[in-house]
């Protein structure tokens, strides 16, 4: 009796539809957990890198030096990526135009592109997490409903309707719901947490872009004043 009611036994004895639902939910749960771990590591690293870059940026180092520290073909991330995109644009525009407004516009545009790329990078797969979080309870519920349907069908066939006739069916049906919730709950929690984290990081990048922009602006302003004079 107890052996028959064990979870693996119930899973193995479930109907095909319910088994498929369970498989789907297991895969969803697995993938969502992969995303959760990967995003968590990525966020932590992005935060660390950004903190290091800001320290270096505000340490009074020459911007040209900072730019030349990294070879241009190497991909950077976070604030550094924004800084390099802006500075590269600034350096390219400087010899071509004398209008500070045009230069600043170009720098701002390129920095926005870089920020957008960073946003895309940070938020990648979080949508999947959201999907798992919202859909898996419904999928589990579908499995449950299907299982209970089967149980009622068997109940109609049984000569005497007892709890033991229905119980295995309901138990295996409810396992589907349990698995749906098992997949959904961590997905919901980590989706919220990771979204908040990524939003915070993007806010920091935006702040940095504004600060860098103001530095460049100040620079151009001084140079145009000198040129004007």
């Amino acid at each position: 009796m107890n052996d028959a009611m064990s979870i693996p036994h119930l899973i193995m004895n479930a109907s095909t539809v319910v088994q498929l639902v369970m498989l789907l939910l297991t895969v969803g749960s697995l993938l969502s957990w992969i995303v959760i771990f990967q995003r968590t590591f990525l966020m932590r690293r992005a935060r660390k890198i950004h903190r290091g870059f800001e320290d270096r940026f505000w340490s009074g180092v020459d911007l040209n030096e900072l730019y030349r520290e990294v070879p241009p073909e190497q991909e950077t991330e976070g604030g550094e990526h924004i800084f390099r995109a802006g500075f590269r644009e600034f350096n390219r525009l400087m010899p071509k135009t004398r209008s500070p407004q045009a230069i600043l516009d170009g720098v701002q545009r390129s920095m926005r592109v870089a920020w957008s790329r960073e946003e895309e990078r940070l938020n990648r797969h979080l949508v999947f997490l959201a999907t798992v979080a919202s859909a898996s309870p419904y999928i589990g519920l579908f499995g449950t409903v299907w299982g209970i349907m089967g149980s009622f069908q068997s109940l109609s066939m049984a000569q005497q309707a007892t709890l033991s006739t229905v119980a295995p069916w309901i138990a295996e049906a409810l396992i589907a719901t349990a698995m749906g919730l098992f997949a959904a709950i961590p997905a919901v929690i980590f989706y919220n947490r990771l979204t908040a984290e990524s939003g915070r990081m993007l806010g920091k990048y935006e702040d940095f872009a504004e600060e860098f922009h103001s530095i460049l602006h100040r620079n151009l302003q001084g140079r145009s004043d000198a040129a004007g004079a």
């Binding site: 009796m1 107890n2 064990s6 979870i7 693996p8 297991t26 749960s29 697995l30 993938l31 957990w33 992969i34 995303v35 959760i36 771990f37 990967q38 590591f41 990525l42 690293r45 660390k48 890198i49 290091g52 870059f53 270096r56 520290e69 990294v70 190497q74 950077t76 550094e80 068997s154 066939m157 049984a158 000569q159 005497q160 007892t162 709890l163 033991s164 006739t165 119980a167 098992f182």
Partner: protein
């Protein structure tokens, strides 16, 4: 500045996720046995089981009591058997002993016969010896006589030559010679016959007489005859004496043998008496034991009857068996999902083999109904109802019987 970090890969994350799921699965599998001890879902089957348990239990108790009584009886029987065996052994030993005794007696008899034979032989031997001796002595005497004759002739010649004086001297010499010979004879005879000395004296006297007769030549022959006769007489006497002695000895031996046999017989009888006594005592003990056993049984019976209905144990066992089959049937009926569209006359016989604790070994279709789904549903019903733990509450002999059951399934119910 951590710039040269590679992109965060998915390998580690995958590993972690899989590990997490494996852990969850493991926990769900492992923690389940612990939840086994929680109150089990009580089904109607178990409820009915509880309601009938008392009857089954009573029957079982009665059965157990009966078994105990049986076991005790068996033990007692074994003891009695053992005793009987011991007795038989003792009897066999006694028989052997008796045989041995008879053998001994026979031996004794044989010995006696032998002794008699020996005695006879000895007597014969003695007679033969005596005869031989007599012959030898006769020969000696003859020789002596010859020698004497020769001497006498010589004497005669001398006498003829030297008259009677010389004859006297010769006689003296002869006397000396005779004496020496007598001494020799005495020496020879000393070890054989001590009592014959007197006779020898007599013989010597006779010899002297013969000698004296020899002096008177005419009388010599007579003397010799007398001597011979005397010797024969003596020898006869001697022989008679020896025979008597041999006879006496034989008689003594026979008496001793008889006495020994008598003693043996007495001993045997005593032993037999002792054995009979022991057997009687053992029988008495066995009787007592039997009486005690009967008493115990009666008491047991009374106890059982006092505790239960005045039904007999067999009836109670039957009742328990009926209860068991009813329970099993009920459980199977509850587990049975009759497939739809079954012909009303469908009938399938399922033979079920159970383990000693009621677990299902085999449930197979003995007689098919022709409807595969219906057969399958019946087998599945048995499998679903499977562990029939009530089997253990049956009496032992019924348990063995009921480990092979067959059920007939028809759409109206299980039979």
């Amino acid at each position: 500045m951590a710039r040269r970090h590679a992109r965060v890969g998915y390998g580690l994350s995958t590993l972690l996720a899989v590990g997490l799921h494996g852990l969850v699965l493991l926990v769900s599998v492992i923690s389940l046995p612990a939840s086994d001890h929680e109150p089990k879902p009580s089904s109607i089957v178990q409820a009915t089981l509880v309601s009938t348990e008392t009857v089954t239990d009573q029957a079982q108790r009665a059965e157990a009591a009966k078994q105990r009584a049986l076991a005790r009886q068996a033990e007692e029987q074994r003891q009695a058997e053992e005793q009987a065996r011991q007795e038989a052994e003792a009897a066999a030993a006694a028989a052997q002993e008796a045989q041995r005794q008879t053998e001994q007696a026979e031996q004794a008899e044989q010995a006696e016969q032998e002794a008699q034979r020996q005695a006879e032989e000895a007597a014969r031997e003695a007679a033969r010896q005596a005869e031989a001796e007599a012959e030898r002595r006769a020969a000696d005497a003859e020789e002596q006589a010859q020698r004497l004759e020769q001497q006498r002739q010589a004497e005669e010649e001398a006498a003829r030559q030297r008259e009677k004086e010389a004859e006297e001297q010769a006689r003296r010499e002869r006397e000396a010679e005779e004496q020496a010979r007598r001494e020799r004879e005495a020496e020879e005879q000393a070890r054989r016959e001590r009592e014959a000395e007197a006779q020898r004296q007599r013989e010597k006297e006779a010899e002297e007489q013969a000698r004296r007769e020899r002096e008177a030549e005419a009388q010599r022959q007579r003397e010799k005859e007398a001597e011979e006769q005397a010797r024969r007489e003596r020898e006869a006497e001697e022989q008679a004496h020896r025979e008597r002695e041999a006879e006496e000895q034989a008689r003594r031996e026979r008496e001793a043998a008889e006495q020994r046999q008598r003693e043996k017989e007495a001993e045997e009888q005593a032993r037999r008496e002792r054995e009979a006594e022991a057997q009687r005592q053992r029988e008495k003990e066995a009787e007592e034991q039997r009486r005690a056993r009967e008493q115990a049984e009666a008491e047991m019976q009374r106890l059982i009857e006092g505790a239960n209905e005045p039904a007999t144990n067999a009836q109670q066992g039957q009742q328990a068996a009926n209860d068991f089959t009813a329970l099993v049937r009920q459980a199977i009926e509850q587990a049975w999902r009759i497939p739809p569209n079954v012909a009303s006359g469908a009938r399938v016989e399922i033979s079920v083999r159970l383990g000693p604790s009621g677990e299902l070994f085999v449930a197979e279709v003995a007689t098919s109904s022709g409807d595969g789904a219906f057969d399958r549903s019946a087998v599945q019903a048995v499998e679903a109802a499977a562990p029939f733990a009530e089997l253990r509450q049956l009496p032992a002999h019924l348990q063995r019987e009921y480990r092979r059951i067959s059920f007939v399934f028809s759409p109206e119910g299980v039979r």
